[in-house]
Symmetry: C2
Subunit: 340 residues, 2 copies
């Protein structure tokens, strides 16, 4: 493997000049720059990451703590990871994975070894065990999710509370007097992932304000379970029912179950689900969606950590960014009065 010394020799300059060509931290004449760059190209030179990290004390690597989640919607996590990795590359950072298997010590390890310059922590729970660890670490971190005690931390997430509010307001605006909330699975709700709580708060607030009644039914993993849950909820309901399904995994099941029960979306029933446009549009009846913009959350997380790393001055003492969800009206919602 060629080194910067080899490049220097070929270009007829000193090694330090090569280094300054790369970093641009000192003025270099146009002519010298060209000679060096040609030499680099000719040798296919790539700077050694270890040496660079050692000398500069920065690894250009960001650690990404990924969740362990057998029952959570895995596909969406994959999406986060892809977008984070791709976005990081645009700022010349690589992504190193940290699994939950290692526990919070994994974070201490990668930071202690100076393998990473900063951390992005996914799926942060309200009482996340990683939070106290992160606080003590000498590198910046960005949390995706909002822990209960977030003093001194930088957090980003979708605005679940606003999402809840938007769903209810939209349905209330259409004239619905009840909404049936098809909730996350119980296992998720009880795991202190507080975005569920935040969504509920948004729903409840808006419902109170609009005088709408909320019926809640837990999410199910099978169609049969979903049908049963829906049937039960429908008994409490009066008028044309309106459903909200904030969890991605519930979306298919809900639509399918309603169809099985003979209810036509946008005619006999209103439905708002959380799913990407692509999916919503290819349904038999295009779905009205509340979309949490996970890609945007991912990009912003990267942007935050990169800012912290490139310009430590600008690092806020703490920060909470909530991404506004997008409500897209399609064909699965209806104005109930017009049907009576």
């Amino acid at each position: 493997m060629p080194t910067s010394k080899d490049v220097a020799r070929l270009a007829g300059v000193s090694q330090s000049t090569v280094s300054y060509v790369m970093s641009g931290r000192r003025p270099i004449s146009e002519e010298t720059r060209k000679r060096v760059e040609d030499a680099m190209a000719q040798l296919a030179f790539q700077p050694n990451a270890g040496a660079r990290a050692l000398a500069s004390r920065r690894s250009q690597v960001i650690g990404l703590a990924i969740p362990f989640v057998p029952d959570l919607h895995m596909g969406s996590i994959m999406e986060f990871i892809s977008v984070i990795a791709a976005t990081a590359r645009q700022s010349d950072y690589d992504i190193l994975l940290i699994t939950d298997d290692e526990g919070p010590e994994g974070l201490e390890r990668v930071v202690g070894q100076q393998l990473v310059d900063g951390l992005i922590i996914m799926q942060v729970a309200g009482d996340d065990a990683r939070v106290p660890v992160i606080r003590k670490l000498p590198v910046p971190s960005v949390l995706i999710g909002v822990p209960e005690k977030r003093a001194g931390l930088e957090c980003i997430d979708a605005d679940f509370e606003l999402a809840g509010t938007m769903c209810v307001e939209e349905l209330a605006r259409l004239g619905h007097e009840n909404v049936i909330l098809v909730d996350w699975q119980d296992t998720v709700v009880t795991r202190h992932v507080n975005y569920v709580k935040r969504f509920h708060r948004g729903v409840d607030k808006a419902a109170a304000a609009a005088g709408v009644k909320v019926i809640r039914t837990p999410g199910r993993v099978t169609i049969a379970g979903m049908e049963k849950a829906i049937t039960k909820a429908l008994k409490e309901n009066t008028g044309i029912p309106a459903f909200i399904a904030p969890e991605g995994a519930n979306q298919d099941l809900l639509v399918e179950a309603l169809t099985n029960l003979g209810l036509v979306l946008g005619k006999d029933v209103s439905v708002v689900v959380n799913c990407p446009d692509r999916l919503a549009e290819r349904q038999r009846i295009p779905l009205t969606t509340i979309w949490m913009e996970p890609d945007e959350v991912s990009r912003r997380a990267v942007r935050m950590i990169v800012r912290d790393l490139t310009d430590p001055q600008s690092r806020p003492h703490e920060d909470l960014e909530l991404i506004k969800p997008v409500l897209k009206r399609r064909k699965s919602t209806i104005r109930p009065r017009s049907q009576r």
Copy 2:
């Protein structure tokens, strides 16, 4: 951050001794070892990864090339990644992500920078553009998947051909005379991912051997689509139909569609799907499964690359490991004669 020099000073030994305590490459007296280890613990010493990489010329990092897949079953990819990362840690390796966005050059970059000691390449297609690049790289790689030209490469994958054979043989053994293969989506089939081809080959071979007729219908993304496809396939079918659904994403849809059509699994129809035990068992009617053991594939991939790295002598010129799928008989398959 404490360095090995600090540890040495505290323990009253030389820095090199500290290094030898860590690596075990020279004998160290029990007493000295203890003093050094105590000093390490006291200072919470962690060796600097950059310095270590520079001096030892190994980064203890494995690059993982992840696929870009909007329509492929994302959840399963996530599973691969988790298991790979966790397994790698057990051998003291970390995982660095390489996305498809960077193209094959991404591989050259991480290797050129000596960021990684080796590569694991996921979702290798028959004519994968990454394969010629990998061939030229000076580090070992393990491919998950089987490219067409695999001379000189180490590959691992589930044995899709055997899986196809096992499904058909099982159904033939039960007495079915036709099988309906609910295939991958067209977009996947045409993308040269040759595991589809291998599965088909296994199915066809076994079908020919057992005198079974194969009816093929492409996978669909909606229940309605699936119902239509099934209805069509059923017209060609005689006797009690038998379905095989090798793609995970089809599994729910198929079961649901059959149910909607009034067919009871394991009574009116036999079904073999590819899905994890956990999922198969919590269905209304537990499903007979052909499971491709993705976790085992992941673990083996890591084991292979780790072996290559720790003992370069033993690195095979080329290798192809195929993991045997597991067929588990549950309640969704039936002996057709007994029903007549």
